[in-house]
């Protein structure tokens, strides 16, 4: 079987599958809205990587966490 034929068949499989969906279209809309809210709103504006904001390097992060762990026990 030629390679392109194989990939075309896979593409058609998914394409026809999505086209024939009924409830699935609503679900995909929900999934896409959910992923948009999660990754482009929540992750970007509300969930930055805390340690990346405290230090640029691995050594800096080690230092920050060690100080946190040591100082919080006092």
């Amino acid at each position: 079987m030629p390679k392109s034929h194989f990939y075309t068949r896979i593409f058609r499989f998914y394409y026809d599958g999505f086209r024939s969906m009924t409830i699935g279209k609503t679900l995909w809309a929900i999934i896409l809205i959910k992923l948009f809210v999660m990754f482009l709103i929540l992750k970007v504006f509300f969930f930055p990587n805390f340690l990346n904001e405290k230090a640029d390097t691995e050594t800096g992060k080690q230092e920050y966490v060690s100080e946190e762990l040591i100082n919080r026990s006092k």
Partner: protein, 517 residues
């Protein structure tokens, strides 16, 4: 001196709990319904009967709706690790990262590949390949769940690692000790079985609705029969694995075990509180107020649960704080004060080690490292200011545990009755409307049972993020409490909207029915 606002700890925990509770609405249904639809498709494959094809397709549609709404909600937990639990995320290192990475890869490749064949492949691939894809989809989902449970089990029972004071991280020494720890395996078994029960109860509840509406009777009765038999077996196995969990908790998390029973003073031949009402006046383990207003006990049962020995000693909260009793492994339990002292020694040794490293003082590094290693198992106790902090919320843990057991017993009995009735020729399930109504409400009981189980597991192990080595107060990021509150309410709004969307779409699909002539 650095004090973390207790409300920040509480809000961070509340936010994580909200996300986990929401995520857990979808996971068990995926695990359970997936197996049931695969069984139905297997019957279709073996008999060639179109009825079973339509039946499997209907449940597959509901599976798809649940899967689609729930997919990726677990990723929010990972956002929270990076933002709200940054000390924890750094401290656990690759031990947490490895299972989650494996889970991500498996979830993506296995589920994403085969779920497409499962939904789009009817009539396009062979019956055998389609059936294989259906089974592989649900096996993939179960394996994904396993790796998440491995990570959770490690937090309850940290094994197979070594703490590196240079990187301030725990590093995996023994992958198999982490992946196949007895806690992880038992947790997998218990969690997956409870998921199977959820799938069964869901099928029974929806089928009961069809019977109540006098629609799709043949389909509903056939679905109920399979779900009830499968669910009864799963629920029985959940009881067995629950017994295993109890023994593990008694040995590895005795404070959680004592809180589950509201047990302050331990004893040999300890009775189990079958039903009880805690005394709200009891505020601390130190006061002499009786812990119960009312209780009905089963003699010897708690000792039996803890060691399968009717005479076993079960320590209470006070005993665990005071120490001095003989543990199951034969050693004498340290008091909370002694553990706190050793925890402080470990943290001081970490500070001294890092200073010695900066000073390039090899001798001091060796000495302090030895002290740190010797005391590391109590590292987290160094953050505990008062032994009372070691007592988890007794009321919530006690009631959640008893709710889980009572609801579980109720569902076990229900599944047995439905299985029995579904084989009777007089078809009582078809005619008894009160039973159909009751069965519809069983879904709510199941959801409450599953959530109560996780409340026991997670609230009962407070104050620990990682048992004995990192409390939540040291695990969280130093954020403004208000920012955590904002995201908590954002999630609450988002999750509520998604849940309403799921219920509406599910209801619409159920009302449409399986379209079996």
């Amino acid at each position: 001196m650095e004090q973390i606002d207790i409300s920040l700890v509480d809000w961070s925990r509340a936010q994580f709990a909200l996300t986990a509770i929401y995520h857990w609405l979808f996971v068990p249904l995926t695990l359970g319904l997936g197996i049931i639809q695969a069984i139905m498709e297997t019957i279709y494959y073996r008999t060639g009967n179109e009825f079973w094809k339509r039946t499997a397709q209907f449940w597959m549609k509901l599976f798809g709706i649940n899967f689609a709404i729930g997919v990726a909600t677990g990723l929010i937990l990972e956002f929270e690790f990076g933002t709200n639990w940054s000390n924890y995320s750094w401290f656990v290192g690759d031990i947490f990262g490895a299972p989650l990475a494996i889970e991500g890869i498996l979830a993506f490749f296995m589920e994403a590949t085969f779920i497409a064949v499962m939904f789009f492949g009817w009539g396009k691939v062979s019956k055998g390949f389609h059936l294989t894809s259906t089974w592989l989809t649900i096996i993939g989902a179960t394996i994904s769940a396993y790796w998440i449970l491995v990570a959770n089990a490690w937090m309850q029972y940290p094994v197979g690692m070594h703490f590196n004071p240079d990187t301030v991280r725990n590093e995996m020494l023994d992958f198999f000790a982490v992946a196949f720890s007895p806690v992880a395996l038992n947790k997998l078994f218990h969690t997956v079985m409870s998921g199977w029960v959820t799938g069964s109860i869901f099928v029974i509840s929806v089928s009961a609705w069809f019977l109540l509406k006098k629609r799709e009777t043949k389909f509903a009765l056939a679905s109920m029969k399979i779900a009830a038999v499968f669910g009864f077996v799963a629920c029985s196995l959940a009881v067995i694995s629950g017994d295993g969990s109890a023994r593990q908790i008694a040995e590895k998390q005795p404070m959680k075990f004592a809180a589950m029973e509201g047990l302050y003073e331990g004893s040999e031949s300890a009775p189990l509180v079958a039903v009880g009402v805690l005394n709200p006046e009891k505020k601390s383990y130190r006061d002499s107020i009786k812990p119960f207003l009312f209780k009905i006990e089963i003699p010897y049962m708690l000792s039996f649960m803890s060691e399968h020995n009717l005479d076993a000693y079960v320590p209470g909260i006070n005993n665990i704080i005071e120490g001095g009793y003989t543990q199951k492994n034969g050693t004498t339990a340290l008091s909370a004060e002694e553990k706190i002292q050793r925890g402080q020694t470990a943290i001081t040794a970490l500070a001294q080690y890092r200073q010695a490293k900066k000073d390039k003082d090899e001798a001091a590094m060796q000495t302090t490292l030895a002290t740190l290693n010797e005391n590391f198992e109590y590292f987290g106790y160094g953050y505990i200011k008062d032994p009372g902090e070691l007592v988890p919320p007794v009321g919530l843990t006690f009631y959640a545990f008893h709710a889980m057991v009572i609801f579980g017993a109720f569902l076990l009995l229900t599944l047995l009755i439905v299985a029995y009735l579904s084989f009777k020729k007089t078809a009582p399930l078809e005619n008894k409307r009160w039973l159909q109504r009751g069965l519809m409400w069983c879904m709510l009981v199941d959801v409450l049972m599953g959530q109560a189980g996780w409340v026991v597991a997670e609230v009962g192990r407070q104050p620990w993020a990682i048992q004995d080595i990192l409390p939540t107060s040291a695990a969280i990021s130093k954020l403004a409490t208000s920012s955590v509150q904002i995201t908590f309410f954002l999630f609450l709004a988002l999750f509520t909207i998604l849940l309403i969307a799921e219920l509406r779409i599910l209801a619409k699909a159920i009302q449409k029915g399986p379209e079996i002539n």
